[in-house]
Amino acid sequence: MNPEKEAVVVAETQADPIVLPPRRHVGMRTKNRIGNTLIYILLILMSIVWLFPFVCIILQSFRIESTMMTGYIIPKEWGFDNYVNLFTTTNFPRWLLNTLIISLATAVLQSVMILCMSYTLSRLRFNGRTFLMRFMLVLGMFPGMLTMIILYRVLADMNMTQQNSIPGLILVYVASSGMGYYISKGFFDTIPKSLDEAARVDGATRAQVLFKVILPLSKPIVIYTILTAFMGPWGDFVFAAYVAFNNREGMNVAVGLQSMINTPSGINANYTMFCAGGVVVAIPITLLFLFLQKYYVEGVTGGAVKG
């Protein structure tokens, strides 16, 4: 079985209907047409609701007559002032750079951690395997926020907070990421065991089985893992805020943009700039996501079905 092909098949079958064709007589057909029209109306309404905030944010980022929140959407004067101000008068370039470094490093390291963990739990049998899985399940029930306090203190001790928050944040994002192995383990579980066995009979070591047999088959899950690992820190707020601790040099975009509008006076002065920042941050990640959407859909669907 070729997962790549399977992915294509999944993507294609999604366009297929699940409801069977109605029997051919006129009453049914008119009923169907009314139903479809209703559905179209609902879908269009939904699309408006879903797109409305994004359209607003884009429109307001071009407004120059006032930086405050206003009761109207369409700007009276258009211009790129907010974008220019964002890059020249605030620390936004620094935040963007911080976020980019953190996200790239995390994407690589976290994927390695998750794939190591899930591959081992899925395809190798050893003492303590079930114990490890149960242990991680129980650990996952503790709120992660609880560990923040001590991690902040430890990072502060190692001088990895405030303006030096980048290595600290990477360390925290990566270190415990092995616990998020569920979805990729579900994927590895579906690869037939006979492939491993055949390679082993031919004299391959377990490492060779991983690198030469399984990994080439696992492109969809590798992409999914890297994509989610990249998007996590790109939008992370809580821990980044904790570690940066109000230091404007050490913030990521989420914390930085939030700090612009977390006070009433901040909203009045920076609201349109915040919109511009949101657009700048959202565009690359949205494009990347839409480009790799197929893999994401597969990961989410598979993960939910396998539980």
Partner: protein, 521 residues
């Protein structure tokens, strides 16, 4: 109540069946606790047995061992070293040296101070050279607790390694006695890519989890029994705290009528957290499924477009969309301005605040912000469910619908008898995880409302409790607030763990997917 099997159960009518299931659910509760108790007892029994076996093996090995093996009991790696397995021997020896070095110079004193967590606070000492007073820091409770936990970890690791060393000495003695080949360092290294490959792969992730999750959790559990308070701790290092036993738990459970302290706050927030998790999970679930069915209906065109529009909410980072939406619904935001201009709401109405109009009943005023966050959460959550449901709906065998149609089932009947049971069966575990995820859904609440509006019934507790606060946002607000009562945050964290594990256990026992796995196969 007797248990019905097969036909007896089928003979009951709908109401009787419901009653039967309902009573059996509650009658089953003592059994679960019994089973949990048994499982725990079983675990300790097994653990005790394992320890006993280890001790017996240790004594046996010592009795039968030659002098090289016996020296290994004191000097680790000796048995390996003098039988030619230099690499292993040196590693063992180096580990022992490191351990002893650490324990003598640091670890011992940290653990020694664990009982009191330090006794000497900072003091001001007159400095005659500069003619001023300078502060001299002595004990630091945070460091004492942290490093003693680390030292305990190290001790456990050492005991494990020591045991491993004796096992290795025994094996190499046996192999040497039988004249068999002892593995060389090179072969050992090679086995890490083959027979021991799992150790290579797991080394980094498990060490990361141990240091960055297990250790902090143990530390925070210990903090729940202290009075560690960040407010006194300006500039990180001058504060002493100490053990207080169960006092902090008493604070939470000591409920009084009309109280506004921690116990009142905890009750209020826990109730809302569970309510929120329930509505957030199921509203998303059913609406998401509905949207998926609509988009996938035959004859609907532009399926990809509808799907992509919804998926945009997943792609755009939540902090942007949520912060923006929260401003849209805020007091002078677009939505409220429009509604006011259209005369649809009164001037005192706000989405994230309490309606100040005295004619509005209080419970209505409270429900408004809560309902708002649930509705906005639907906006966030439907796309995920749409994707998941689409994938699952594809897998329902088409002949089920075919035969249902022939039997004259309406589309509503097809939905309730085929689609819904199948979905519920397949997504049972997902529903559980998403319920728990929603209980800890920090982002949505914090970025939308920050917990507002304030709840006067819980004004005595720190963290400025609000009506939309979840336990997790409350915990965050406590630790970042002016008081920084870390001990209370730890207690709440532990209670969140307890609540979640109880819910998981109960639901897991009820879930059909875990009982009748082959039902839909």
């Amino acid at each position: 109540m007797e248990k019905y099997v097969g036909l007896e159960y089928l003979k009951l009518n709908k109401f009787q069946r419901f009653l039967y299931k309902f009573t059996h659910f509650f009658l089953g509760i003592p059994d679960w606790f019994k089973n949990i108790g048994l499982a725990i007892g079983h675990f300790f029994q097994k653990f005790g047995l394992a320890v006993k076996n280890e001790v017996i093996d240790l004594i046996e090995t010592f009795r039968k061992g030659d002098w090289k093996t016996r020296v290994s009991y004191v000097v680790m790696g000796f048995g390996n070293l003098f039988r030619g397995q230099i690499g292993r021997g040196i590693l063992f020896l180096a580990f022992e040296a490191l351990f002893l070095f650490y324990m003598i110079f640091w670890g011992g004193s940290w653990i020694g101070q664990m009982g009191t967590l330090g006794t000497m606070g900072p003091e001001k000492i007159y400095d005659p050279v500069y003619d001023t007073y300078i502060t001299v820091y002595h004990d630091n409770s945070f460091k004492i607790l942290l490093y003693s936990v680390l030292s305990l970890f190290f001790i456990i690791g050492f005991i494990y390694t020591w045991r491993l060393n004796i096992k290795q000495a025994k094996i190499s003695q046996q192999l040497a006695l039988e004249g068999k080949h002892l593995t060389t360092g090179k072969e050992d290294l090679r086995s890490f890519a083959d027979d021991q490959f799992h150790k290579t792969l797991l080394a980094l992730p498990t060490i990361g989890i141990l240091v960055f999750t297990v250790m902090p959790i143990i530390f925070m559990i210990l903090v729940a029994f202290t009075n560690y308070n960040g407010a006194l701790n300006n500039g990180y290092s001058n504060n002493l705290f100490t053990w207080v036993g169960w006092d902090n738990f008493n604070t939470i459970f000591n409920w009084q009528v009309g109280g506004t302290g921690y116990s009142a706050a905890f009750g209020e927030i826990l109730a809302w957290t569970i309510m929120w998790a329930f509505f957030a999970t199921f509203s998303n679930y059913f609406l998401g499924m509905l949207v998926a069915i609509m988009i996938n209906k035959k004859g609907i065109k532009l399926k990809k477009v509808w799907r992509t529009i919804l998926v945009l909410t997943i792609a755009i980072p939540q902090f942007i969309s949520l912060l923006y939406v929260s401003r849209m619904f805020a007091n002078n935001g677009i939505v409220l301005t429009w509604l006011r201009n259209a005369g649809m709401v009164s001037d005192t109405f706000t989405f994230f605040g309490l309606n100040t109009d005295p004619s509005v009943p209080r419970w209505v005023a409270i429900m408004v912000p809560r309902l708002t966050v649930i509705v906005i959460n639907i906006w966030i959550g439907i796309p995920y469910l749409m994707l998941i449901a689409t994938g699952i709906l594809m897998n329902i065998p088409a002949d089920l619908y075919e035969s249902a149609k022939i039997d004259g089932a309406s589309s509503w009947q097809q939905y309730t008898r085929i689609t819904l049971p199948y979905m519920l069966f397949v997504t049972g575990p997902y529903l559980l995880t998403s319920f728990i995820g929603n209980m800890n859904n920090f982002n949505v609440i914090f970025l939308l409302t920050g917990g507002a509006p304030d709840n006067p019934a819980a004004s005595g507790a720190s963290g400025s409790v609000g009506y939309t606060d979840l336990l997790i946002t409350w915990l965050y607000k406590i630790t970042t607030g002016a008081q920084s009562e870390y001990y209370m945050a730890s207690v709440i964290g532990i209670l969140v763990f307890v609540v979640i594990s109880v819910i998981s256990l109960v639901v897991y026992n009820l879930m059909p997917s875990t009982k009748n796995e082959e039902d839909y196969q």
